[in-house]
């Protein structure tokens, strides 16, 4: 359960104030697959950063799993991210110096799991994304789609409640994009709540619900029925 | 093209000012440390009389205790007895020859209210002045007649002439030394051989003496000796006469031999002299005479201080650390602009032109390090002067050879340090950095 009420985010420099989000409100239920769309500069990324506790907001109220996160310290936020949230980034953000195994291992290390547990999970998720055989490879030895699968595996390894995806297919060609999207959809079917930022309407339509942001406000929330229509039509 | 590369190098240096300053500082500190010690070693090991160092020979005769061996070998004494020195001076078998020693006299200035003071003195012969190329501002050295006739003549150093005669032409005037009047025949200009090769026994880096008087006069009036005197057996009886006839060594003997033939002849003469003395019961050790030219003699006496060598070694290692530092930083820097390099490659820059570009950038950093390092060297030498005081007055100064060496070493080091980073930079593929990001 994720709930944002009247969230505002203002970036201040000496000269200008930029309102990235204005009284933004959103509720996401357990097991939802929400897509967030909007033109560039509309506040999509800011929303995602706040939702993922990557950034603090200026004003408003945000509860994640019933817990008010605005008062969390940096370290507490880190722990929440580590346990409850998985991230998928547009440019994958794999660590180039680490092989696939070590890359997936990164969040598990911060979780403090024992070595055997980590190994079990890493092998499990890499198997899920179909890359178990390439565990010792470096990211640079993989294609873009494969890299993103590794990133997804990394996001899944900690068994998060929420998966936040930022243009997950932005750097992929359409064929690879489809396979990645299918993977994400499958994860959602497994019960993980997914919030995906994208500018691509086709992808957005794959979600069960679409939120459109314009100038930092929710301009339109597509309903399940609308999406169902799109899906069937 | 070169000026274009210079410009690129300069722009690149300015783009990361902090990193550039760090690199220049690292090289400068390394250069400063090593050039300071290199300079001290260079001066210590320098040739004090380059124009004729291979024609001047230190003469050593092995008249020492037959029971005194170090590590199973006879070590030749550094100095000579009065008996042998006088025999060699009498026979005059070398082109020029000189026996001399160090002493101290008391000089009484003419002015009533001026106090007498002591002066470092070299007791020597007429040949000393032309042989060691002493520079004169007034007059000249004395001649053989003065030596033979026990004339009381004196040559003054520039400083003493300044102090006693206010720097005027004092030739012909008289100076009172140990209660006797001496006639000034010459006044020297600047004279300070480093090392003071003709008497390393009493300090290779001591000041040159303040006045020079005939050796025979010093003997005649039994002037006190100031330098090292070593004896391996007691003299036969008391008194100065007995001392002169003893086996004590206290005289430095040098000969000027202009070619190999003269040297060979002189050696033969020395051997003949020793053989003759052996017949008289002297020279108990086996025949072992030696002629060493100036640089051989400096090497034999190890005039380059061991501490200076240790510091030289450590400071060169220091330079290595600074270079490793620079390699790391250059690598970081060149890899940091791999996008720029990839772009240039894509736009048609060949590997060799990139190589030149980055080597020039390294060279520029080296130049900066060299100039700053030169300043640090100067500070380092000033520091050494401050620490060691008057001992090193003649050792810590920069000449143009050292200035060029410093700059050259800095640029060379920087190029060396730049080699690997440049090679890495040249290997960046043209497209690699353009694809993503």
């Amino acid at each position: 359960m994720l709930s944002m009420q009247n969230i505002s985010m203002v970036y201040r420099t000496d000269l200008v104030e930029t309102h990235a989000l204005r009284e933004f409100s959103l509720e996401v239920k357990e097991g939802d697959f929400v897509s967030v769309t909007g033109p560039s500069g509309s506040g999509k990324t800011t929303f995602l950063n706040i939702a993922g506790l990557l950034e603090k907001f200026t004003d408003g109220r945000y509860e994640l799993d019933g817990r008010d996160v605005s008062a969390l310290s940096d370290t507490e936020s880190s722990a929440v991210r580590n346990e409850k949230i998985g991230f998928i980034f547009q440019s994958f953000n794999l660590i180039p110096d680490l092989n696939l195994f070590d890359n997936v291992d990164v969040p598990l290390r911060y979780r403090g799991f024992k070595s055997a547990e980590r190994k079990r999970r890493i092998e499990g998720v890499l198997d899920t994304v179909g890359l178990a055989s390439r565990m010792k490879h470096l990211p640079s030895q993989l294609s873009g789609g494969q890299q993103q699968r590794v990133a997804i595996a990394r996001a899944l390894a900690g068994e998060p409640r929420f998966l936040l995806a930022d243009e997950p297919t932005g750097n992929l060609d359409s064929q690879m994009a489809m396979s990645v999207m299918e993977l994400i959809a499958e994860i959602n079917r497994g019960g993980t709540t997914i919030i995906m930022v994208t500018h691509d309407p086709t992808l957005a339509d794959m979600a069960s619900r679409n939120v459109h942001i314009r100038d930092g406000r929710v301009s339109d929330i597509a309903t399940d029925t609308q999406l169902a229509e799109v899906a069937t039509g | 093209m070169f000026s274009y590369y210079l410009k690129l190098g300069w722009l690149s240096i300015r783009r990361n000012p902090l990193l550039s300053i760090l690199m220049v500082t690292a090289i400068a500190v390394g250069i400063g440390a090593s050039m300071t010690t290199i300079t001290v070693n260079y001066i210590m090991g320098g040739n004090p009389i380059p124009q004729k160092s291979d024609e001047l020979f230190k003469v050593q005769l092995d008249n020492w205790d037959p029971n005194d061996q170090s590590e199973g070998e006879y070590e030749l004494p550094e100095q000579m007895t009065y008996l042998d020195a006088m025999a060699l001076m009498r026979d005059r078998k070398a082109y020029r020859q000189v026996a001399s020693n160090r002493s101290g006299l008391v000089l009484e200035p003419q002015g009533a209210d001026e106090l007498p003071f002591s002066v470092d003195t070299r007791n020597t012969w007429a040949d000393f002045f032309p042989m060691f190329d002493l520079p004169f501002v007034y007059g000249s050295g004395w001649d053989d007649t003065a030596d033979r006739n026990l004339e009381r003549v004196v040559v003054l150093s520039k400083e003493i002439n300044e102090r006693v005669f206010g720097g005027e032409d004092s030739v012909g005037r008289s100076v009172r030394l140990n209660g006797m009047d001496f006639r000034v025949v010459g006044v020297l200009g600047e004279f300070q051989p480093v090392p003071k090769f003709y008497d390393v026994t009493n300090g290779a880096f001591n000041e040159a003496e303040e006045i020079y008087i005939p050796f025979n006069i010093a003997v005649e009036y039994e002037f006190s000796r100031n330098g090292n005197t070593s004896c391996w057996k007691p003299s036969d009886g008391d008194g100065f006469e007995a001392f002169l006839n003893s086996e004590c060594i206290w005289i430095q003997f040098w000969a000027e031999l202009r070619n190999a033939e003269e040297k060979q002849d002189y050696m033969a003469y020395l051997n003949a002299h020793v053989e003759q003395q052996k017949a008289l019961g002297r020279f108990p050790r086996p025949l072992n005479n030696r002629l060493s030219d100036v640089m051989e003699w400096m090497k034999d006496r190890e005039v380059v201080d061991e501490d200076a060598q240790v510091m030289l070694g450590l400071s060169l290692l220091f330079l290595v650390v600074c270079l490793l530092n620079t390699i790391g930083l250059l690598l970081a820097k060149f890899m940091g602009k791999s996008g720029d390099i990839g772009l240039r490659r894509a736009l048609g820059a060949s590997r060799s032109s990139l190589f030149i570009q980055h080597m020039i950038e390294s060279g520029l950093i080296g130049l900066g390090g060299g100039i700053l390092g030169l300043g640090l060297t100067w500070l380092g030498l000033a520091g050494i002067k401050m620490l060691f005081g008057d001992f090193v007055e003649n050792l810590a100064s920069l000449d143009w050879v050292m200035v060029l060496t410093a700059i050259g070493l800095a640029i060379f080091s920087a190029l060396l340090a730049g080699l690997y980073p440049t090679w890495r930079a040249c290997r960046i593929a043209p497209a690699s950095q353009l694809k993503t990001q």
């Binding site: 990164v106 | 650390v321 060691f388 005081g389």
Partner: protein, 403 residues
């Protein structure tokens, strides 16, 4: 700690790490060997000269006039000096410890020209000598006024009795140093001397001589034209006495010059100036070296933080706390330092072996090696702390930034 992945990531980018490790290794080799030299020098400088250094000063007198009567001058000078208020005692002597110039000769336990004597430094003193220098007589007796002789420069005879140091007794009679008192020693083949006293300790004039503790005292006044008076002042009165003594001597007799008045403190300073300067230079070198190495670490670590900003952001997004990021960079540096100091230990020993072989230096004390390893690791941690701290402040939102 997460050493495994940190190490593996580092191995992907070896060059930078190797350069830092090498730098630390060479720094350590220089540092340890320099400290070893410094230790050796300070040990040498700490050796006592055996005399009452704080209160002793000396001055030279050189007669130059034709009618200068040296013996009378010396006798009168000494009487006048000993009569001065504040003076404990005064003597004429040829030299003092640490001055760098003096007499030495060989003593042998049996007569004969073919025997190699034991080198010993000579001080000419009279019956006031032990008191003036502040020497501690362990056995035997002081010289008496009547046995002090006057010696011309070229004399060859020696007084019958000598006082030697304990160290000289040990060198002469290694099997029975305590029995040295009363024994006869010889100068050359035929000059016998009786050991009439043994003093605890006194240094020769040459601090670098390997027999620096081998000293013999002989009851002599010298008539060499130039002489030296040693004056021991009451505690605290030395500096006040010095100008008075100079004035007294200068005015008592105009046919000589007095010069080179110097305290023992100054003599010690001059004697060890080379060593003291070496210590200062080495200290400075080490400080500079560690600074340069530290700056290198700061520079490269800063660069590596900049290069890895995105990666740091990603780690933060994946749940790394600030402390975890700080720890990552500290650990990485620690691993590099560790490799550096291990290589450094090998280099140190190698360099030391070379230096011992080439120069007259001693071996490095073993404990310096682990101490330097520890210090350099700590220095590395301090140097990397700044960049690591900066890394930890990289905001997690960097991860979602589009480049």
């Amino acid at each position: 700690m997460d050493i495994g992945p940190i190490w593996r990531a580092m191995m992907r980018n070896k060059t930078g790490a190797i350069l830092i490790a090498l730098q630390i290794a060479v720094t350590m080799a220089i540092m340890v060997n320099a400290i070893s030299i410094m230790q050796e020098r300070s040990r040498m400088m700490a050796r006592p000269s055996g005399i009452d250094e704080q209160n002793i000063f000396y001055i030279s007198s050189i007669g130059f006039a034709e009618d200068f009567n040296e013996r009378v001058t010396i006798e009168e000078d000494l009487a006048a000096l000993r009569g001065m208020p504040g003076v404990v005692n005064a003597i004429q002597s040829n030299s003092v410890p640490l001055s760098g110039g003096g007499w030495s000769m060989g003593l042998q336990t049996e007569p004969g020209a073919e025997i190699d004597g034991t080198g010993v430094a000579l001080y000419f003193i009279d019956e006031h000598g032990l008191d003036t220098f502040g020497l501690n007589l362990l056995a035997g007796e002081n010289f008496s006024a009547t046995e002090v002789e006057w010696r011309e420069r070229s004399a060859t005879e020696w007084p019958d009795r000598v006082i030697i140091t304990q160290a000289m007794a040990e060198a002469l009679y290694p099997d029975d140093p305590d029995g040295a008192l009363g024994k006869t020693v010889y100068i050359g083949d035929d000059e016998p001397l009786t050991i009439s006293g043994i003093i605890e300790q006194m240094q020769a004039p040459w601090n670098g001589w390997n027999g620096v503790e081998r000293v013999m005292l002989t009851p002599l006044h010298t008539l060499f034209g130039s002489t030296r008076y040693i004056i021991r002042a009451e505690p605290g009165r030395r500096d006040g006495l010095m100008p008075e003594v100079e004035k007294l001597l200068a005015e008592r007799n105009k046919n000589r010059i007095v010069r080179s008045m110097r305290t023992m403190d100054e003599t010690r300073e001059r004697s060890y100036r080379g060593d003291a300067s070496m210590i200062k230079m080495l200290t400075f070198t080490i400080a500079l070296l560690v600074a340069i190495t530290a700056l290198g670490i700061v520079g490269l670590a800063s660069f590596s933080v900049n290069r890895r900003t995105r990666q740091i952001g990603t780690r933060r997004a994946l749940g790394a706390s600030r402390a975890a990021i700080l720890r990552y960079f500290m650990t990485e540096n620690f691993l590099i330092s560790l490799v550096g100091v291990v290589v450094g230990a090998v280099l140190t020993v190698g360099l030391n072996m070379f230096m011992v072989e080439t120069f007259s230096l001693t071996r490095v004390a073993w404990y310096l090696v682990p101490a330097a390893m520890l210090i350099l690791c700590i220095a590395g941690q301090i140097a990397v702390f700044g960049p690591a701290k900066r890394a930890s402040t990289v905001p997690p939102a960097v991860a979602t930034r589009t480049v």
